[in-house]
């Protein structure tokens, strides 16, 4: 990501961003992009408003236009109330939003956004607020490249996902394509006895002996689930509970990668 944003040089290979080569045309690339890292790139002791005005001035707006632009962005990112507070008093989510806003000050707005793990360390509410911001950006026609370790996030936001394993792309496609690589749905059954568990184990695609849980493939329809339950447990004594779950990107990820601790999925 730092290579694409022209902040680091590639060992080999070439890349083009918004039609410009990242090495030969780095100025043009820098004017076309906005970069937001996981460490907020704002001045902590300046207020939100001062940060945005400074960035606007640096990207070439006059003093008056910079002030107006800062106000617009504060409204758009829901930071009006906090505009005159120092950024160090902001919550994680507010800081990230201020950071994103700071990347938007130039005009025209950049068409390409690089968001490097933008929701790492945020609480669920802030994460959802940030997702909405990303959807808005994409809705305005911008291209967003986002790295994340949260696969649910990739599923929610991405049109296209690249799964990286040890620095290599191991899979690429829409969330649906990726999910179709593992079975679509699964009926998880919690069985009442060890005998029942052993009897049905051969039909299952997912096993969890310690909780006596088995996962059987299904298409997710009520008709199929009902038929399946009747078939495998005609006396209605063997199954305590059941749940239907859709395959998640977590399943895809686990199927695709070997032992990994960190694996950003690219949107």
């Amino acid at each position: 990501m730092r290579i694409l944003a022209t902040l680091a040089t590639a060992d080999s290979g070439t890349a083009r961003v918004a039609g410009h080569d990242v090495v030969a045309d780095r100025r043009a690339v820098r004017r076309a992009i906005s970069l937001t890292g996981q460490f907020a790139a704002v001045d902590e002791t300046l207020t939100g408003e001062e940060n945005l005005r400074m960035m606007a001035r640096l990207s070439g707006l006059t003093r008056t236009r910079a002030r107006r632009r800062a106000e617009e962005l504060l409204v758009r990112f829901g930071l009006t109330d906090a505009a005159r507070r120092q950024a160090r008093t902001y919550s994680g989510g507010m800081r990230r939003r201020l950071d994103l806003a700071a990347g938007l000050v130039g005009s025209p707005e950049p068409g390409v956004f690089f968001l490097d793990e933008p929701t790492t360390g945020l609480d669920p509410r802030s994460r959802r607020e940030l997702w909405q911001v990303v959807r808005d950006l994409a809705g305005r026609g911008a291209a967003v490249l986002l790295t994340t370790q949260y696969l649910e996030e990739a599923d929610q936001l991405a049109d296209r996902i690249t799964v990286l394993d040890k620095g290599r792309a191991v899979a690429e496609g829409t969330p649906e394509t990726l999910k179709s690589r593992v079975s679509g749905h699964r009926l998880d059954l919690v069985l009442s006895s060890r005998e029942a568990y052993l009897r049905l184990a051969t039909r299952a695609v997912h096993h969890s002996p310690e909780t006596l849980t088995l996962g059987l493939p299904t298409d997710g329809t009520a008709a199929h689930a009902r038929a399946l339950l009747d078939e495998i447990d005609p006396h209605r004594t063997d199954i305590d509970r059941f749940s239907v779950r859709s395959a998640t990107l977590d399943d895809v990820f686990l199927a695709l990668t070997t032992d990994r601790t960190e694996a950003p999925a690219h949107v």
């Binding site: 902040l7 820098r30 790139a41 700071a102 990347g103």
Partner: protein, 257 residues
């Protein structure tokens, strides 16, 4: 479409930013301003009586003021180095670079803010010195020369501090590195005459960059003959500045690779 702003616009905005940051960190700034004043009081009232500066000076305070001005610049440089280092540590440097702002406008902003801080602290030192019996006798041309020499050294030392800020891996280390600048006035004629030092130190004390500056400031302030000292001092300052600018350019490229 906004016009691509030039380096001058960038430097102006960066200066405004650095000054604003200083105002927000006013505690640290005041501390760095109070230290030289305390040291001046210590030197004048505790040590001064025991130091023989010869017959040319009515009192020790007349002798020591230029040295204290240099202590000021030394303490001020710590603030500058830390500020530069903080920038390099945080994500903000990537933001600036992605806005296509070069090393020089960023550092120039810090240096100008540092110079402003130093001018404030220098004025404070002068004010306190006047209160405790400093009576300068400089001519108008002398004052002009004093200002030129001081300004040249403040800018040169500020830029060295900025380079140190780039060199140090952490802000704490950056603050520590600048201590050699606060110590440089001691082995010079700033506080005691060089003649009173051991012989092996004379060579260094006579030819280090602080000495010609101290000699010219002292001579000019008391309206005594200074010879070539101001020119030597300005040459040193220009040399230091040139090296500092070149060095910081290289360091910036290394740090942001």
């Amino acid at each position: 479409m906004s016009d691509a702003p030039g380096a001058l616009t960038h430097a102006t905005v960066m200066t405004g930013r650095s000054l604003l940051l200083s105002r927000r960190n006013i505690d640290a700034v005041i501390t760095s301003m109070m230290l030289p004043i305390m040291l001046m009081l210590i030197f004048v009232y505790f040590f001064g009586g025991a130091i023989d500066t010869g017959t040319a000076y009515d009192s020790y305070v007349m002798y020591v003021v230029p040295g204290v001005l240099f202590l000021c610049a030394g303490f001020g440089s710590a603030t500058t180095a830390v500020a530069v280092s903080e920038d390099m540590k945080g994500g903000i440097i990537d933001r600036f670079r992605s806005l296509d702002i070069g090393a020089m406008p960023i550092l120039a902003g810090h240096v100008v803010a540092s110079t402003v801080r130093n001018l404030v602290s220098t004025t404070l030192v002068f004010a306190v010195a006047l209160l405790i019996g400093f009576r300068p006798a400089a001519t108008p041309a002398g004052w002009l020369a004093v200002t030129a020499v001081l300004l040249a050294y403040i800018v040169a030392l500020s830029w060295i501090s900025a380079a140190i800020g780039l060199l140090a891996r952490t802000p704490e280390a950056a603050g520590g590195f600048t201590f050699f600048m606060s110590f440089l006035p001691y082995p010079s004629s700033a506080f005691v005459p060089v003649d009173s030092m051991p012989g092996w130190l004379h060579g260094f004390a006579d030819h280090q960059p602080v000495t010609p500056a101290i000699e010219s400031l002292r001579g000019l302030l008391l309206d005594q003959p200074v010879g070539n000292a101001p020119w030597t001092a300005l040459a040193w300052a220009a040399g230091i500045l040139t090296v500092a600018v070149a060095l910081s350019g290289v360091l910036f490229r290394v740090r942001t690779r």
